[in-house]
């Protein structure tokens, strides 16, 4: 008897599976897909009632409401915004909210995530007029390009600069050699002349790149993911130079590794460090700690070249899930206009990518902004292709082993590049 039951149940199960049918989706399939849309939509796309923006956390106060109000006045479209951590939360939640149907129309993302989110299909290509593109610096626009297409408009740029404690250092040195001599004198006990997180590839690239290394070779069709220049002669020279600072005790071991940044900030904020290499995001914390800081471009390297710092470009991107790509694009054009960008700079101190604003007194007379703008001339945007994800880990390992003198520069970098290549091959 038991057997019969089993047969019966099985038959039923099979029947269920046969009943499994594709959903009826003719209707849906006809709706235009987001990424095919362009300017021709001007006529066809209806005006939305409202658009939704996700802005970085703590970055909307003092400017966004005004910008929204002026957009609403002009076009009659309401705009709502929400604050989310840009580094990971926006991407992670877009992944989940997009398909669930609760995605925003516009998000802000760091440009180095663009390759990844485009591959996943989270943001869409946008089309803007030439004269609008001309508003921004060329490198900032190139950071928003992926595979030859434009995926966003630049909101702000940042790159590490030289920050010094005015109480301990009179003026910024012009060359690293000067800084080295100063640091040799100054460093003793808990006091350091200069600190940088050179075990972190984000900062170390300034040295490696300035000496002649590169991540992916830049070709006419974009970045060549096969050609990695992180163990070429220049890169090794740069890594040797980095090792020297650690080996001679000018950098303490405490600033190596995951918690190194916190340790460095702590030392600087306690007034024990004369100068550091850090990004503009660090200014406020230092001032809050009561340090009178000066800011300048990074000193030049021993080979006479300027440091090739990594540039990060934060941009506004239109999500793949919006029904209103045309009006969303219009909104981000508005949000990155010279006028709004200036207001944004005054409110949150992030340096805009607008060319016209470089001369603006608000920026030109701001020491920090000026230094960032100056350094940006030598900076390169971080590669935004997904393969870059495989570079950070192995490079951090290599640089850490170099900093802690567990390996010499050449062999550590060779190993890292091998690893990067294997990982790119297996994962991409």
């Amino acid at each position: 008897m038991k057997k019969n039951w089993l047969v019966l149940l099985l038959a039923l199960f099979v029947a269920m599976i046969v009943a499994a049918c594709a959903p009826d989706r003719e209707e849906q399939a006809e709706t235009p897909e987001g990424s095919d849309t362009g300017t021709e939509q001007e006529v066809t796309e209806e005006k939305p009632e409202k658009l939704v923006i996700w802005e970085d956390i703590d970055k909307s106060a003092g400017w966004l409401e005004d910008a929204i109000a002026s957009f609403e006045e002009e076009h009659g479209i309401q705009v709502e915004f929400k604050e989310l951590n840009m580094a990971d939360a926006i991407r992670d939640q877009l992944r989940l909210d997009g398909p669930a149907g609760s995605a925003p129309d516009i998000v802000t993302l760091p440009h180095d995530q663009i390759g990844q989110v485009v591959t996943e299909g989270l943001i869409q290509e946008i089309t803007v007029e030439e004269d609008i593109l001309a508003r921004y610096s060329e490198s900032a626009v190139s950071a928003q390009m992926y595979n030859g297409a434009l995926y966003g408009l630049p909101k702000a740029t940042e790159t590490p600069v030289f920050i010094y404690n005015k109480a301990l250092m009179e003026e910024a040195p012009a060359t690293m050699d000067e800084l080295y001599t100063f640091s040799k004198d100054f460093t003793s006990g808990d006091n350091y002349g200069f600190l940088a997180l050179w075990d972190n590839f984000y900062f170390a690239h300034a040295v490696l790149g300035g000496m002649g290394g590169y991540v992916f070779n830049e070709t006419a069709d974009g970045l060549d993911r096969e050609d990695i220049g992180l163990n070429n002669e220049g890169a090794v020279e740069g890594a040797d130079y980095i090792q020297q600072w650690y080996a001679e005790g000018l950098f303490p071991k405490a600033i190596v590794g995951e918690t190194g940044g916190a340790a460095m900030d702590g030392l600087f904020n306690d007034g024990k460090v004369a100068s550091v290499m850090n990004g503009p995001w660090a200014f406020q914390g230092m001032r809050d700690a009561g340090i009178d800081i000066g800011v300048a471009a990074m000193p030049t390297l021993p080979n006479g070249e300027p440091m090739k710092t990594f540039m990060g470009v934060k941009g506004w991107n239109v999500t793949a899930f919006t029904e209103y790509p045309y009006w969303s694009t219009k909104l981000i054009e508005h949000l990155t206009s010279d006028e709004v960008s200036l207001a944004r700079f005054e409110a949150v101190s992030e340096i805009p990518a607008n060319v016209a604003l470089v001369e603006d007194p608000a920026i030109a007379e701001n020491e920090g902004a000026k230094a960032v703008a100056l350094q940006s001339q030598y900076a390169v945007p971080m590669p935004n292709i997904p393969e870059m994800g495989e570079v950070w880990g192995p490079m951090a390992s290599a640089l850490q082993t170099i900093a802690t003198e567990k390996a010499d520069a050449k062999s550590a970098l060779d190993e890292a590049v091998d690893q990067i290549k294997t990982n790119i091959e297996t994962n991409h």
Partner: protein, 426 residues
Amino acid sequence: MKDSTSSKKHRKTALLLSILPGFGQFYNKQILKGLVFLILAVSFGSVFFEYMGVGYWGLFTLGEIPKLDHSIFLLIDGIIAVILTVMGLGIYAFNLYDAYHNGKRRDLGEGVNSVRKQYHNLIDNGFPYLMISPGFFLLIFVVIFPIIFVLLLAFTNYDLYHSPPANLVDWVGLQNFKDIFVLDVWRSTFFSVLTWTIVWTFGATTLQVALGIFLAILINQKDLKGKVLFRTIMILPWAVPAFITILIFSGMFNDLGAINKVLLPMVGLDPIPWMTNETFTRLALIMIQTWLGFPFIFAMTTGILQSIPEELYEAADVDGASVFQKFFSITLPLVLYATAPILITQYTFNFNNFNVIFLFNGGGPALPSQNAGGTDILISWIYRLTMTSAQYGKAAAITMILSIIVITVALWQFKRTKSFQEEDMM
């Protein structure tokens, strides 16, 4: 005496009729019960049928049109459909069984029960099921469902280049498992991480158990003063949420933290590179986990010690047993016997102890030529994989391998412990 064919008539008819839920019961003249089955079946079918159809379709195909079909969401809906089906089939099977059972009663001339009797039967036999069902129901959705998801994900190619909505995910069979054991990058990292995971599990857990038992016995000495105070203090590390203490330790072990700046100089030692040398990081991690984990064992052992009858020791004293003899032949066996199942869960807990590894040093320090950090255990390595390389399918496969290891070892251990073999335990 009736012939045997007619005596099976009712049960067969009832069974056949109840292929349509409820009709077997009608045949058995249990109208109310039949109605309940019928209504249940109809409502279940009408509410879920379409959902389940789409669910099965999604589960098999994982979607057909990129951008429109979201493979992962389809997979999830598919699993829910399977769960619903199993529940439905359960009810259905019960319906068949019930019709058959009552038909048999009629065949044997016992007559079916009245509604009142049925109610009592239901309460008597069904009571344990009734009590379990709310908890079990919740468990299915909150715990079992995610596990099935991971299990299935391990057989897909879900990674960055097969990420919805732009692309579809496909079933790839055992490819992920093959890759992990065949491709050099994966294999070498997997085994080096596994080795440290095992060392970590045994080192940290054994230490915390030993320390907990030792301190409990020490404080339990009859002539020791201040028991309450000391016991209170020893429980504190357990009382403070672990993620807070781990972050604090991370600060203290830093080169500029209290240990290198204050404690080591006090005893005249040089600073130790806790965060940058993997041997020291491992040592620090084991010490921290011991600190975090011993109070639990301590509390348990204390309880057991208090319940050991005094006569046992008195008898031992009469026989002239030494302190050590008493410890090894009375105290320790009793403690281990009573705590064995919980001790095993401590090992499995540490095997998967993501928080302490992740929060202390992010799995670091970095090692040359390795994908994983120097203190990464399997679970934190999985996290790294998902975060940096978006290798979801592989991460799921490793999760499965890891679960199989834990479960096998734990079950084997459980079966060996005495308390488990007792008839009452199972």
